[in-house]
């Protein structure tokens, strides 16, 4: 279980998060929505250890996650995607995917030199998993292309694929559907539900309200760095404050 308690962050005078608390549970998908600039990505970065909060703590299964140490957080089984994808641009799509795989013996020099067989077996397994995932994301035909040459939507998909390769306990997704075509969004929905069904915790930032309504078990709404509403997707849609600040007339 992920629990965020009273987290506050400010940047050069801007209060980006102002005492946010929320919980996300294994097997469930938590949606995080809110107007642009309300602090959603900032909150995700706090959980992921990229930003150390001024106040507050983040606990995963009751143990605090290291603040400001993204690699240590990731090592605890937390994977994340970026709103603007970070990729190893000159490496191929397949290499990016393989880099996502956790626990690779071939990354230790000693294993490489003295037990190369072990490294090779693990690598073969990772390659299988990577191509499996690429197939599902519709990127398999691009496996040997540089990641930097992918289209905007494809980069989003790759970013998500890399996060999945890590076999995470907690997965943090920052607008995975933005720029992705509707058919693949439908795939993503299936995919996320399957992840949750396997007992993982999912936190999803998304502006695509159909997708949110479709996959989220619970939704938290941020505005100006504070939680203004929480509940089921249906409840949220009826909330007047949310209507005003976030959904607008049409939503």
């Amino acid at each position: 279980m992920l629990s965020i308690r009273d987290v506050a962050v400010s940047f050069a005078g801007v209060r980006a998060l102002d005492g946010v608390s929320l919980e996300a549970h294994p097997g469930r998908i938590l949606g995080l929505i809110g107007p642009n600039g309300s602090g959603k990505s900032t909150l995700l970065n706090v959980v992921a250890g990229v930003i150390a909060p001024e106040a507050g703590t983040v606990l995963l299964d009751g143990r605090p996650l290291p603040a400001g140490a993204p690699h240590a957080v990731a090592a605890q089984g937390v994977a994340r995607t970026f709103q603007i994808p970070n990729l190893a641009r000159r490496l191929t799509v397949a290499q990016n995917m393989l880099a996502g795989a956790r626990r690779q013996p071939g990354e230790a020099l000693a294993t490489l030199l003295f037990r190369p067989g072990r490294a090779q077996r693990a690598e073969a397994a990772a390659v299988r998993a990577a191509f499996d995932m690429l197939d599902r994301l519709g990127l398999a035909h691009l496996a040997d292309h540089p990641a930097g040459s992918l289209s905007g939507g494809q980069q989003k998909l790759l970013s998500m694929g890399m996060a999945m390769m890590a076999d995470p306990r907690l997965i943090l997704l920052d607008e995975p559907a933005a720029g992705v075509n509707p058919v693949l969004v439908a795939h993503q929905v299936v995919f996320l539900k399957a992840m949750a069904a396997e007992g993982r915790t999912v936190m999803l930032i998304e502006h695509n309200m159909e997708m949110v309504a479709d996959v989220c078990d619970e939704v938290v709404v941020l505005d100006a760095g504070a939680v203004i509403a929480r509940g089921s997707p249906a409840e949220i849609r009826r909330d007047a404050r949310v209507m005003r600040s976030y959904l607008g007339e049409i939503g």
């Binding site: 970065n45 990229v50 603007i84």
Partner: protein
């Protein structure tokens, strides 16, 4: 003590005016142009030759600055422009090749031996420090040139466009910014500044085809200390470096603490300067690369 400050100021001026050119080009083309230092040398030699031809010194410097600016544009067109998209380290190495080529040509034309400007200036005693008219001219020229450049970069539309071009070339083009014209202007300005700085440096010291090797380290150290891309930063970097170097050996540490007098042996001058630079670099506030954050 006052003398130490005077020396530091003069040296900082010479370094800074060359350093801003490096920062300016770095900010737009994103590589450290080693040939820039050689532009300074060529500018100094051009001023020298024109001065020898009988031109009044200020005019000689102006003509030399213009010529060097054009040279910088020519090098950009012939060498750097075709290499667009290459990794910055490769461009840096190419610029080193350009520097080598230009240096050998200067040496072939003017000879490898040192030359000096024949300028005689008066000395004034300010407090207990000696200040020459040349010192004052050097510092004043630098301050003027820097202020003008700083204002041009931050206050004018063209300056902002240059920074925009540096930031995102394709996007800049789609805003109607013509990169070729603007970069040509940028190269011209940085070449001209290099020539000016090189001439000031040579006026205070001497001319030598390989004087770039002596200027290189302090200039790049100043630019790096100042954050690589800003005019103000380069000036600040030059001041820090110059002060560290001059104070380290110019100050009587013995007299400061006891009655005796003890100077740091001056052969440690460079060591101290470099050490100060490393220290400042390590202690300066961490630079967040925000691109990684979202």
């Amino acid at each position: 003590m006052l003398q130490v400050l005077v020396n530091a100021l003069v040296y900082a001026s010479e370094i800074a005016i060359i350093a801003v050119g490096v920062a300016l080009t770095y900010s737009v083309v994103r590589f450290a142009n080693f040939a820039h230092i050689q532009y300074a040398v060529i500018g100094a030699y051009a001023s020298f030759a024109l001065d020898r031809c009988g031109l009044p010194l200020p005019l000689a410097v102006a003509v030399s600055a213009a010529l060097t600016g054009l040279l910088a544009i020519a090098v950009e067109r012939l060498v750097f422009a075709p290499l667009q998209g290459l990794r910055p380290e490769a461009k840096m190495i190419v610029s080193w090749g350009v520097a080598l080529l230009l240096r050998s040509l200067v040496a072939a034309v003017f000879g490898g031996a040192a030359q000096v400007f024949e300028v005689e200036t008066d000395s004034h005693l300010v407090g207990d420090a000696v200040v020459t008219g040349l010192d004052i001219a050097v510092v004043a020229t630098t301050i003027l040139a820097m202020t003008a450049l700083h204002l041009a970069m931050t206050r004018t539309r063209i300056g902002t466009a240059l920074r925009a071009l540096a930031d995102n070339r394709d996007l800049a083009r789609t805003r109607g910014i013509a990169p070729e014209r603007l970069t040509a202007l940028m190269w011209f300005v940085s070449g001209a500044f290099a020539a000016l700085g090189g001439t000031l440096f040579a006026l205070e010291t001497r001319l030598q085809p390989d004087m770039d090797l002596q200027i290189l380290l302090p200039v790049f150290a100043a630019v790096t200390l100042g954050g690589l891309t800003s005019v103000g930063g380069a000036v600040l970097g030059a001041c820090i470096l110059s002060l560290a170097q001059n104070i380290a050996i110019g100050v009587d540490f013995g007299a400061l603490f006891t009655s005796g007098s003890w100077f740091l042996p001056s052969q440690f001058r460079d060591t101290i300067a470099v050490a100060a630079m490393v220290l400042v670099l390590c202690l300066r506030p961490r630079h967040h690369r925000s691109s990684g954050l979202r």
